[in-house]
């Protein structure tokens, strides 16, 4: 534990700005991954443990696209759509057969894919760390803010994620698709009886969730180095976010992601070795006080 | 006092619905009482309140001279109250005999024993006795989930009986049965009651059955006790006729 360092940082505005912006970035990426996770759980009742690997795939897809086209925007599109397509195929072929099995079966299918995808990435992209570098579009001088400096890309990432969160909540709460999604979350049979193609709906939701993870990977690419293990840690963290926010709640995921991001950023100064422990302790506390999470609905 | 069940001012609300509304009832030791009432009248809720599964908002439940409100469900079971459920509640993978033996273990406080093998020979013998009592000996070796609907209801009752209760609550023992089977079941229930010294309270929708075997009847309606007395008295009660016939014409007394 390093309390003096933490106090030092808190008393300096430039350090606070740096840490808060770092925390926000972590939070935004976490939200993108966790919102997909929570959406899939809320509607399909499946915890997609491969979600971290989807994030990783998004990053690598965008890396390749960036190297080929040289355009970062193409890279983001490639990462998001590529993973969305992959997610739909994955859901149809491997997840749908275990919808009615117990949780452990679903868990194992996901686990198998975590192992497989990690190795596939190793085979295709190699085991070494890879970096995309800051795309030319964002290679601008940092923005001066509250006595600190913030890279422009951070602002872009945060803005984009907030926009995504907003569109997502409009999509779920205001559109016909959202109505179907919410209905499916409550009673799938009923929806089938009403003539809705629920298989299609499930695939769409899974695809949307995967798209978010892929986009997160692509957005992380300029600021994170890539390695075949990158899926694991984000999986655990986004899982914590999902649980703290309330499984199935998108607003919950947003707040929890920001919270965890900030804890992470400041914890890495004060308790570098214990930040994981801190997050798990926080999660345990939330579970014990309110098992359905901060924003979770009461379970029937 | 043993085997007397007295309910005083029992009240339970679910949001706006009063499933039990100031209910006062008394069941004498060794009596056989039917509870009737339309769907949603609060009959099952009353059982849940008595058995301690639900906590009442107000009121008292006196079992053999002790107020049991607030006690955990298992404590109430240990004080001699057991029940069978509206939808048979079983252990699907257990054979009939295993399930009963397990209930006997529970009765004998042997369920946590680690040093011996399940089932204890004595518990098995006792399980056999209960099986014969309800007439399930022919299917003793079958898995509970493979039993016919009627046998499942019987097994549920047998599980409750294996606890040697002083007060036995049966929630619609004839639910979902054909006419013939209903009468057979109710005859069995009646025999069980007359052979054991227990206070038996059962919920029943079939008025003919109720008037045939019950000593007395309580009518519940919207959580309130609408009428009580002998079958003859209840049958002639205008409020009851109103509740049963009037309910369809939507003139609902609240």
């Amino acid at each position: 534990m390093n309390l003096p360092a933490l106090l030092d940082c808190v008393s300096s505005s430039s350090c606070v700005v740096t840490q808060v912006s770092t925390g926000l970035i972590i939070g935004m990426l976490l939200f993108l991954v966790a919102s997909g996770l929570t959406l899939i759980f809320g509607v399909l009742g499946v915890i997609n443990f491969t979600h971290g690997s989807f994030y990783m795939l998004g990053a690598y897809f965008s890396l390749t696209a960036y190297r080929v086209t040289g355009s970062y925007f193409d890279a983001v599109i490639a990462g998001a759509l590529g993973v969305a397509v992959f997610g739909v195929v994955f859901e149809r072929l491997f997840i749908s057969p275990v919808y009615n099995s117990n949780v452990l079966m679903q868990l194992l299918v996901c686990y198998a894919f975590i192992l497989i995808l990690d190795d596939v990435v190793k085979i295709v992209w190699g085991t070494d760390f890879q970096t995309m570098g800051m795309p030319a579009t964002f290679a601008l001088p940092p923005i001066h803010l509250f006595g600190g400096f913030v890279p422009p890309f951070y602002v872009f990432l945060t803005g984009l994620t907030v926009a995504a969160a907003f569109s997502l909540s409009v999509l779920v709460n205001k559109t016909r698709f959202g109505k179907l999604v919410r209905a499916a979350a409550v009673n799938r049979q009923m929806l089938s009886c009403l003539g809705v193609n629920t298989s299609l709906l499930y695939a769409a939701v899974f695809g949307l969730g995967s798209l978010l993870a892929g986009a997160a990977g692509a957005l992380a690419a300029p600021v994170r180095s890539m390695s075949p293990e990158m899926g694991f840690s984000i999986l655990i963290e986004s899982f914590i976010v999902t649980v703290i926010g309330g499984m199935g709640s998108i607003i919950g995921a947003f707040f929890a992601a920001v919270l965890v991001g900030i804890i992470r950023a400041f914890g890495s100064i004060g308790y570098p070795l214990f930040t994981d422990g801190l997050m798990f302790a926080f999660m345990a506390l939330v579970l014990l006080v309110k098992p359905t999470g901060l924003f979770g609905r009461k379970l029937a | 006092m043993q085997g007397r069940l007295t309910i005083k001012r029992l009240t339970k609300r679910f949001g706006g619905v009063a499933a039990a509304d100031n209910v006062n009832l008394d069941f004498a030791p060794g009596s056989l009482t039917a509870i009737i009432g339309p769907n949603g009248a609060g009959k099952t809720t009353l059982f849940n309140l008595i058995a301690g599964r639900l906590k009442p908002d107000a009121g008292e439940v006196w079992l053999s001279g002790e107020n049991v409100v607030g006690l955990p469900e298992v404590e109430i079971v240990r004080r001699g109250l057991s029940r069978a459920f509206q939808i048979a509640s079983l252990f699907p993978q257990f054979t009939v005999e295993q399930a009963l033996a397990a209930a006997v273990h529970a009765r004998w406080r042997q369920s946590h024993s680690i040093l011996r093998r399940f089932p204890l020979p004595s518990a098995r013998a006792r399980a056999r006795e209960v099986l014969e009592l309800v007439g399930l000996e022919a299917v003793a070796g079958q898995a509970s989930q493979q039993l016919s609907h009627g046998d499942q209801k019987l097994l549920d009752i047998a599980l409750a009986l294996a606890l040697e209760p002083r007060v036995l609550l049966l929630d619609e023992p004839t639910a979902g049965m054909g006419r013939e089977a209903r009468w057979q079941m109710i005859e069995k229930v009646h025999n069980l009651w007359s052979q054991q010294s227990l206070t038996l309270i059962f919920i029943e929708h079939d008025i003919d059955i109720v008037f045939q075997i019950a000593q007395s009847v309580r009518v519940l309606h919207y959580g309130k006790v609408l009428a009580e007395g002998s079958p003859r008295e209840v049958r002639g009660n205008p409020a009851v006729i109103e509740a049963y016939l009037g309910a369809t014409s939507a003139s609902v007394p609240v």
């Binding site: 894919f113 798990f280 579970l287 | 397990a102 409750a160």
Partner: protein, 313 residues
């Protein structure tokens, strides 16, 4: 039956005198025990824990640390570590069993990761990510010298079979049947007068304590303790083992541990992409058999084999 099996293995290993085989048998007893204890919780009590490695790791570290003080004998350190694990299991279990289904699992995972974080960050005590340094001494006791590989092997096997028999007794006892009742229909169990929460807690504590036994054995065997003993991957491996072997057959988890260790051994020796192969094998088992291997075998061989093995096993 089990005893004779034990003797056969011991004799085999001693006569073969093949270190690789002995190593496999020892790891099998450690992880078999670990998987068996997890299945007591998952298979029999229906409590799916994602944090079982917490007890494995705790046992290993507690024992290793006690032995490194140089003040206690092996049996004393053993008893104290197991008692400590039981205390840990009671306190964590009392919190976890308040939750149901997936939430129970997540909370166990949280506590396990908490222990992992403590191990990582308390460097002065645990050696942090390097693990317990300096080896674990094995002073002779009661005429047993665990420094001697043969004696260690025999003792570990006896220990393993003793615990397996104990668990066997437990699942076949009235207590074991009460756990099944709590798993299959907790409402009915409650209405029969079983204190459901107490049974869940008991299962949690017993299962955790047995996992701690496996942890102690592990730390003795590898003469150390490492943070990954308390990491979620080991919890996951435990679930993998019981799913591979089968949850409904008593010996399933042990078979699963064996399959897992063999697979792992073969795969890591033959290919550099072990995850790929392991993942594909897993998919085949899960989507192909849709149950553990022993479950599958027993369903195929019919009730005859089930009766035979459950009588003798």
């Amino acid at each position: 039956m089990a005893l004779s099996g034990c003797l056969v293995v011991i004799a085999l290993a001693l006569t073969l005198d093949n270190p690789q085989f002995a190593d496999f048998v020892l790891r099998l007893s450690i992880f078999g025990l670990y998987a068996l204890s997890l299945n007591l919780l998952v298979g029999y009590a229906g409590l799916v824990s994602f944090g079982h490695a917490m007890f494995f790791g705790f046992g290993a570290y507690a024992f290793g640390l006690l032995m490194q003080t140089g003040l206690v004998s092996i049996p004393l350190a053993f008893v104290v570590s197991i008692a400590g694990a039981a205390v840990l299991a009671v306190s964590v279990g009392a919190l976890c069993i308040r939750l149901k289904d997936i939430y129970f699992g997540i909370l166990t995972l949280a506590f396990q990761m908490l222990l992992h974080a403590v191990i990582l960050s308390w460097v002065s005590l645990t050696g942090g990510d390097q693990g317990l340094q300096g080896g674990i001494p094995r002073p002779p006791f009661l005429g047993v010298d665990l420094g001697n590989p043969k004696q260690f092997f025999v003792l570990a096997c006896v220990f393993f079979f003793g615990l397996v028999l104990l668990v066997r007794q437990m699942v076949e006892s009235p207590f074991g049947y009460s756990l099944r009742m709590v798993r299959d229909n907790p409402e009915r169990a409650l209405a029969l007068g079983l204190s459901v929460q107490r049974y869940k807690l008991a299962a949690f504590v017993i299962s955790g304590t047995i996992a701690a036994n496996a942890g102690v054995l592990m730390s003795l065997y590898v003469s150390g303790a490492y943070p990954n003993f308390a990491y979620w991957t080991l919890s996951g491996d435990g679930i993998l083992m019981i799913m591979l072997g089968g949850m409904t057959v008593f010996l399933g988890p042990i078979a699963g541990a064996g399959i897992f260790l063999m697979l792992n051994g073969i795969i890591t020796r033959t290919t550099e992409y072990s995850g790929l192969v392991m993942g594909i094998v897993l998919l085949c088992v899960v989507l192909g058999l849709r149950r553990g291997v022993l479950d599958f075998v027993f369903e195929r061989c019919g009730p005859w084999a089930v009766r035979r093995l459950s009588r003798e096993g």
